[in-house]
């Protein structure tokens, strides 16, 4: 009996499979169905016919579920909408209202201190910022809009993503439950996020922010989780052996040592946000993305390329600032040996 144990499972699965084939034959349309059972082995057309009644439609229940959601929790979504929109408008208006030299000065200031006073990075970022304006004066305000959306989306990612990442690292069950969800979030084409966004929040900046959040938060969660789990086990043991409680170990040891990875996650998150916000121009989000869209609609190669260059410059600015901040932290935690 012991000997045949390993054959039981394959036997069960293959009989289920054969059962489905029989069903598909039984429910085949008359024109596919052979008259005599010996024909089954000569005429295989019945095999090409999916049993129609086994079809499980997802579209209908999803649509009605969505309608129900809007009716029942409309107020809730409106609250989120108003909050994010208010945040976005205030931020955008205040930056657009500033004279451009001051904006550039602020960018230089942020870069200089975020990168740990690296002159080269600062000069490069400053140059990119200037060039945005030189490219076309029209781009200046649009870049600010895009930046505001990216920044708000990123903040949302950080506020939600990092605690989730920490929870995943500390609890195996949470990780097992969340990993498939993260996989799903990353494999569904980013366009699909825009549609529910429009239905729930209307056109404009808010659905873009929501789409950014869904699209860009998985890498941040994953890298936070990974960073915390990668902390040397002996260091954690040392912390515990000296009587640190869980909170002290987390804040005093795990998070500081995971910071380089978390910063990498934030960097990834920023880059993905920027990619998403360009796509979001298709649902009427104002920003540098509409210039590309406009160029596309008018078949104006020059216009699209010009806007494309602006996006690249913006990406370089974001990347340099977040990356160099991560490098600065890394230098502090892993000091190189001075000889």
């Amino acid at each position: 009996m012991e000997k045949y144990k390993k054959f039981i499972k394959p036997f069960i699965y293959s009989s289920i499979f054969i059962f489905f084939i029989i069903i598909s034959y039984r429910s085949a349309k008359p024109r596919y169905k052979p008259d005599h059972f010996t024909d089954i082995f000569k005429d295989f057309s019945w095999l090409g016919n999916w049993p129609k009644w086994l079809d499980f439609p997802l579209m209908q229940p999803l649509n009605s579920g969505f309608d129900w959601l809007i009716v029942k929790y409309g107020l809730f979504f409106e609250g989120i909408n108003n909050f994010l929109l208010g945040l976005y408008t205030t931020m955008k208006d205040s930056i657009v209202g500033l004279p451009w030299p001051i904006v550039i000065a602020i960018v230089i200031f942020i870069t200089y201190f975020a990168s740990g006073k690296k002159t080269n990075t600062t000069i490069m970022v400053a140059f990119c910022t200037f060039f945005l304006g030189f490219l076309s004066p029209r781009y200046w305000d649009k870049c600010i809009m895009t930046t505001c959306i990216v920044v708000i989306g990123m903040l949302l990612c950080i506020v939600v993503g990092i605690p989730i990442g920490i929870a995943m690292a500390r609890n195996k069950r949470v990780r097992n439950a969340l990993l498939p969800v993260l996989d799903l979030m990353q494999t569904i084409p980013s366009f699909c996020y825009l549609i529910p966004g429009i239905l729930l929040f209307g056109l404009g900046a808010v659905p873009a922010i929501i789409a950014i959040f869904v699209y860009a938060v998985p890498p941040l969660i994953r890298l936070t989780d990974l960073g915390i789990r990668l902390v040397d086990k002996e260091v954690i043991e040392a912390s515990e052996a000296f009587g640190a409680n869980k909170k002290q170990t987390l804040w005093g040891v795990q998070i500081p040592l995971a910071l380089p990875n978390i910063m990498q996650g934030i960097n990834q998150c920023t880059m993905m946000s920027l990619a998403m916000v360009v796509i979001a121009s298709m649902i009427g989000t104002r920003g540098i993305g509409d210039e590309v869209l406009l160029g596309l609609q008018q078949l104006n190669v020059g216009m699209a390329t010009e806007a494309g260059i602006a996006i690249v410059l913006l990406a370089i600015i974001f990347d340099r600032i977040t990356q160099s901040y991560g490098e600065k932290i890394q230098e502090r935690t892993q000091v190189k040996k001075k000889i």
Binding site: F242, G243, G252, L257
Partner: protein
């Protein structure tokens, strides 16, 4: 009462350790358990007691369960069955809060790969135990500085661990363990990652510190010389079983089984056997030529007085601290003690 008592501790790694436990208790071997159930036996019925103020060295090859055993004492690992008690309190009965208090005030630990916090400076590392206790920075920096000086690292307190050499890093680890001023110190292969010269340096430092502080030390090593040097008692682990516990001399002279014998085979006996162990007591010393004598202190190792004896072709007179004659050693005893085959006969039970 012993400082640390470990009674019938079993540790089984796997999905359902409690189901496998009866099998192990019935005497199934590690290989059988692994083959039948896929569980790994970490510790198999380990019992030992450690007295206050002594250095207990636990020795074994890698995979013998040494590191598992040491982690039971401060409950970084929970035993599958058995009792671990420290100063009479059963460690297993402590709830989370009391366990943390217990770890903070009762024992400290030194790690094989140092376990230092790379994002903290030396002084912050040393003060970590005090930091988690909630001490203010000024207070704990004062204590930390004292300990940094004690291990000879003054001047490096604001460096980061990565800027220090291995030996210096382990000194930081040692200072960190000393800073909380606990009675018990657990040292998990503390010197194994260091090169031989620095290792013997650190051993000397530990012996010097220990003679002053009189802590209870549970030391783990895979190096026999190290265990003979440091240990008041030595326990030898093999496949999770404690095969022999005894003083260094016991281990060398009367190995309990082949495994221990293989361990002690290549030991330089002259370095670990003291004069008082092989001497013929003074009251039964008739017939020994006492015309040509060399004075030897009873606590000296053979290799310390051997050259003198050989050069002058003399017999030894063993004296204690006050200079009173305790016994004699002739060529006969020396050759017996240093020849492997006659080991067991050469030993006379120390008084």
């Amino acid at each position: 009462m012993s400082k640390i008592e470990i009674k019938n501790v079993y540790k089984i790694f796997g999905d359902q350790p409690s189901k496998v436990l009866p099998m192990v208790q019935d005497g199934a071997t590690k290989e059988e358990i692994l083959e039948k159930t896929g569980h790994t036996v970490g510790l198999d019925n380990v019992s030992l007691s450690i007295e206050e103020g002594e250095t207990f060295v636990c020795m074994g090859l890698s995979g013998s369960g040494k590191s598992t055993l040491i982690r039971h004492i401060n409950r970084l690992i929970d035993p599958t069955s058995g009792v671990v008690s420290v100063e009479g309190t059963n460690v297993m009965d402590l709830d989370q809060k009391n366990l943390i208090e217990f770890r903070r005030h009762k024992m400290s630990m030194v790690f094989q790969r140092f376990g230092l916090f790379p994002h903290k400076t030396v002084i912050e590392n040393v003060g970590y135990g005090l930091e988690v206790q909630g001490q203010k920075p000024e207070e704990r920096n004062k204590t930390s500085m004292e300990k940094i000086e004690a291990v000879g690292l003054s001047g490096f307190e604001h460096q980061y661990p990565n800027q220090l050499s291995g030996g210096m890093q382990q000194r930081v680890g040692l200072a960190r363990a000393l800073a909380t001023n606990t009675d018990i110190m657990l040292m998990d292969e503390a010197f194994s990652a260091l090169d031989p010269l620095i290792r013997s340096d650190m051993q000397k430092q530990l012996i010097a510190l220990q003679s002053e502080l009189k802590k209870t030390i549970f030391f783990i090593t895979h190096d026999l010389d190290e265990s003979l040097k440091l240990g008041d008692h030595i326990g030898i682990l093999n496949h999770g079983k404690l095969v022999q516990v005894g003083t260094p001399i016991d281990i060398i002279m009367k190995p309990a089984d082949d495994y221990v014998e293989a361990f002690v085979k290549d030991v330089n006996r002259a370095k670990v056997i003291k004069a008082k162990i092989i001497m013929t007591p003074a009251n039964s010393s008739d017939g020994i030529d006492k015309s040509n004598l060399v004075k030897v202190h009873e606590d000296q190792f053979i290799d310390e007085f051997l050259p003198k004896v050989v050069c002058s072709n003399a017999n030894c007179e063993i004296v204690d601290k006050e200079g009173a004659v305790k016994g004699y050693i002739t060529e006969k005893e020396l050759s017996k003690a240093l020849t492997k085959e006659h080991m067991a006969d050469a030993v006379k039970p120390p008084k």
